[in-house]
Amino acid sequence: MAVNDAPRSGGLDAPLLGSGFGRVPAAYWAIGFILLIMPVFAGNFWLFQIFGWSFCLGIIALSLMFLAGYGGMVSLVQMTVAALAGYAVAILGTSGVQQISLGMPWWLYIPLAIIIAAVFATLVGALAVRTEGIYTIMITLAIASAFFYFTRQNYDIFNGYNGFNFVVPPRLFGVDWRQPTAFYYLSLVMAALCYLAVLYVARSPFGLALQGVRDNPRRMAAMGFNVTAHRIAAYTFSGVIAAIGGILLVWQNTQVAPFTAGIPAVIDILIIAVIGGIRRPIGPFVGAFIYVLLSTFSPDVLSSFGLSTERFKLIVGLGFLAVVFFSPDGALGLWDRWRERQRKNLDPLTGRPKAAGAA
């Protein structure tokens, strides 16, 4: 999905560099147009189940991509932040558990849910940024499992094992936002906004400093940047992104329960980000799409070959292994390499200089 001529060396590689629409490559317009008119030729199942789910997971994985790709911090807590936002929506808004839900209006509980999730992400960040590499992974994984067990045992606020059901989006402008087409556009617009926000922040002075911190924290500190503050702020920003994805996910499922942020779900987000590629913000969406396709259709692939559907996880696992094996930097890496080769092959015929786009 990513068509771009930018260098692959790290941070400054997204296509929206500079200002104005003129710099947006034609392929982006094409993909955007196809996504916009998708409801014309895609059925409800594809709109709601495949694309809707991909956008929700993609947004959550995008928050991990921001931390990992621009900040160099692999956090396993993103799904937990997303689930906390979902829980906040269920607790502050309306749900099937009337003795707990407070029934606030939507304009109050949605911002509150995002703020709560962002505060939580900031606190986790404050704990985690003092560690590096595998220790960050461990500390965030520990927080994620603690959250899972806490929600499962706490009945007064989180309603324990059962969680909350009937958590539906508010009926705004007379539209039922859980209808497939409406939800498709809702999640598409949110995904696009989050995507653009990440691109924008990555180009902003803060984003550039963050990438500097990723590459050489000591030099950045010597230049007078507050390394810790930049990292914590990155957690806060990614918390907002994850919260948006989490709220959409809870609306799509109409329910939130401890398993929403169980350890498998937490790991799934990492898998999505890795198979998509964590170098650019489009990667998580590609990864989420692959993940959703594989987990939805792998039983059918098996049964079409006359095999027992019990082993459907095998297809999912092999698919992930194949992506990671052939391209350590995810599906986007495959695309980049393929384009690179095309370009080299085409050079003598078109007369384009070999260095085109690889500056």
């Binding site: 045992q153 324990g160 329910q255 396709l293 039983p299 559907t309 695309w335």
Partner: protein, 426 residues
């Protein structure tokens, strides 16, 4: 785009292939009836889920995969016992695979989620597989959801009376798993036990998947006749190990999954603490009823020994009965599923279904009334442990013999429900 486009094309090709292969058989007569099988094939119940798929196949083989001249096709949708996965897969079955109705799901919280989903597809039918959550057919039930198995509370019923009358155990403490099935199964036992005049001295709740039960075991009171254990799987084995190390002590009463095959066939001697423990549930392996014996024989003949259990599992029996109910319902309407399946639903509601577990009928919530078996763990040949049937209770209904108002007034299963004193116990 290219990668995903290619994978999409591949998937489309796979579909075309599978459709092309199955099309000639279906083209002869009326279109086939498509049944979606929603079943857990991942996670703690994966082995039981596989047995469920086998049993659907077994039930369909009895009618040669044909009902009222229409061929029956099945599509399996695997879940991982998470409610959101169950709903996703159900949606895929209905919207993508265009099945006529669904048999499933397998686990409790999946059942509650599917009940809510069913309300959005009023023209399709869902016949529960073996989900045991009381709420599925009790709280705001969906008109198109049918359950031909008993729920978790019903499974516990009958055991209380048995231990009070036959064993003379009147004072007990309880240790149960802290989640919905734990509450529900405990509620069924406790209602019956308290009405028979028993006293529950203290209740302990242990988290699902806990490893250390030392704290609870140390707190268990001494002056009781027995301890009720409402756990299953590895939790049950871990508890029994630590229970023995702490010197065991008193007699045990088991919940429905406390003494099933996964626990009885575990290694080590800790399970010996279970000898003489009464449990209750929807089936008894040595049930002398010819219907059961006949079913077990069919099951053993249908599959080679290394591809099945020695005797059908709880999950398998549930799916077998659900599939039998579907076949009986389809026969009653002569395979006609038009009219938004209204006539099919009416036929299902009024079925008097002969099952391997005895006759089952549905109440106004489309919930089964049927038989509960009380078993006792005994030593079998070669030091193995087996369940021996010691009593059966016929006609256990959804409200455990109370009126709907009384049962509703008692409240839903939770840590503190039921109130033993209000039921006549102490």
């Amino acid at each position: 785009m290219n990668w995903t486009k290619r994978s999409l094309l591949g998937l489309a090709g796979a579909f075309a292939l599978s459709w092309g292969l199955s099309a000639p058989a279906a083209a002869q007569q009326q279109p086939p009836i498509r049944i979606g099988i929603l079943v857990a094939l991942e996670g703690a119940f994966a082995a039981g889920g596989r047995d469920a798929v086998r049993n659907v196949e077994l039930a369909l083989r009895q009618v040669n995969h044909t009902v009222a001249g229409r061929r029956i096709e099945t599509i399996v949708a695997p879940t991982d016992t998470r409610p959101d996965t169950a709903v996703r897969q159900a949606r895929k079955l209905i919207e993508q695979d265009r099945v006529d109705f669904i048999i499933g799901p397998l686990s409790g919280s999946e059942g509650i989620a599917i009940r809510d989903y069913a309300k959005t597809i009023p023209d399709r039918t869902i016949i529960n597989g073996i989900s045991g959550a009381l709420e599925m057919t009790w709280v705001d039930p969906a008109p198109n959801v049918f359950r031909f198995n008993l729920d978790g509370a019903q499974w516990g019923s009958g055991l209380g009376t048995y231990v009070v009358r036959n064993k003379g155990w009147r004072r007990i403490a309880t240790v149960s798993a802290d989640y919905s099935f734990g509450y529900t199964n405990f509620l069924g036992f406790a209602v019956d036990f308290c009405r028979a005049g028993g006293t529950i001295v203290q209740r302990f709740w242990v988290p699902l998947g806990a490893a250390d039960f030392g704290g609870v075991i140390a707190q268990l009171p001494d002056n009781v006749d027995a301890i009720y254990l409402g756990m299953g799987g590895t939790d049950a084995i871990n508890f029994l190990n630590q229970w023995q190390q702490a010197g065991a002590g008193t007699r045990l009463i088991g919940g429905t999954i406390m003494a099933d095959q996964t626990v009885l066939s575990a290694r080590g001697r800790a399970k010996d603490a279970l000898i003489g423990t009464p449990t209750s549930g929807p089936l008894a392996e040595d049930n002398p009823d010819p219907a059961w014996q006949n079913y077990v024989r069919l099951y053993r003949e249908a599959f080679p020994a290394n591809e099945r259990f020695n005797s059908p599992s709880l999950f398998g029996v549930g799916y077998f009965i659900a599939t039998s109910a579907a076949i009986a319902g389809l026969n009653a309407v002569n395979g006609d599923l038009s009219d938004g399946q209204r006539r099919f639903n009416a036929a299902l509601s009024s079925l008097k279904l002969a099952t391997p577990l005895g006759e089952v009928s549905l109440n106004e919530n489309r919930q089964a009334t049927g038989t509960v078996f009380v078993n006792e763990v005994a030593e079998g040949p070669g030091g193995t442990l087996v369940n021996r049937m010691v009593a059966r209770v016929d006609g256990v209904n959804q409200t455990l013999g109370m009126t709907a108002e009384q049962f509703r007034a008692m409240g839903l299963p939770s840590r503190t429900n039921p109130d033993c004193r209000a039921l006549g116990g102490g």
